[in-house]
Symmetry: C2
Subunit: 167 residues, 2 copies
DNA sequence: CTTGGAATGTCAACAAGGCTGACATAAAAT
DNA sequence: ATTTTATGTCAGCCTTGTTGACATTCCAAG
């Protein structure tokens, strides 16, 4: 890569429209790879990407409520409900009525749920690990910085907290 | 962040399962931000994300064929055809029969098509530019390296070529 | 205590955009 | 002349988003 533009141009080549377009396409193509492996597993079961997302975040925060999951996933409660219903019917997720507030449902993975979540997660982590190893630690730090800056502020909140589990 | 694990552990903290999980969630949340602005514009028209993708890649490679677009987007021709048909009917895309091979259709944006593509692209670039500027050039390089390593090889081909336009 | 509103979750119906399968056409390749 | 390739179309299915209507529960104001 060439360095520096004119005199005093503080090395802003990475902000040209062409560089931005490359960034946009990188996101597009990489996201396809990112979801490819779990999607392959899901197609064997009767599930889709939405089920994967639910399993992931229930696993991350056992006992989370439907409402909390809603704000993380950014879909309507009706949409999430359909996914949860099938997961509950199939015995992958358990829904316990809240003790303090009986309107709330607290969500947990069953053993079967944990098994599927692990299978999906392992596949996704395998690719992520390979990419991280190839690119190296400094690249990974940059990757995280850019992605974090690209999130909506509310999403960044969910990303930063890792501990907001049950009640 | 703490540095180094045991003696001789070559600073591989960025490959722990927890770091990988953070990477996975970063992709998820950032992709939402990445598509949010164009989606907002598209919802005013009668179009969706699929139309945006078609417009983007036709704009990048004017004169591209349906088949080529198919392999870039990774969808079925039936699915792409539905999208292209509406774009052509609405006068955003022009489909010209090939001169050398009359089976092929070469795709071009009309003036209206370019206008919409610009609007979508501007919105997306604005966010990408802000993220790049916040994170800085080294982070951007790392971002690109990790994403590139995460792509399927065939997708990486499409990403690397920028010039494979008309015939 | 009762009542009304807010929060939470469920059911029904619809739309976008993936998918497969079957088939038609035209042109290129053999 | 026959086969293969590129494209388009019709029909029908699935997932996953949407809105609208509704039931339940909680809480707070009267």
């Amino acid at each position: 890569m060439a360095e520096g533009g004119g005199p005093g141009s503080e090395n802003l080549l990475f902000l040209t429209d062409d560089q931005l377009r490359k960034g946009i396409e990188a996101m597009f193509f990489a996201y396809r790879g990112f979801t490819a492996d779990p999607d392959r597993i899901l197609s064997h079961h009767a599930y889709g990407r939405a089920h994967h997302r639910a399993l992931h975040f229930i696993n991350r925060s056992p006992g989370t409520t439907v409402n909390n999951l809603l704000s993380i996933l950014g879909v309507t409660k009706q949409s999430l409900n359909r996914v949860l219903r099938s997961l509950i019917e199939d015995g992958l997720v358990e829904s316990r009525v809240g003790t303090r507030d009986k309107r709330e449902r607290h969500l947990y993975l069953t053993e079967n749920g944990q098994d599927l979540e692990s299978a999906l997660s392992d596949a996704q982590r395998r690719r992520m690990r390979a990419a991280f190893r190839t690119a190296g630690p400094e690249a990974v730090a940059g990757f995280r910085q850019v992605l974090e800056a690209m999130m909506d502020p509310e999403m960044r909140r969910h990303y930063e907290d890792t501990k907001e589990a049950a009640s």
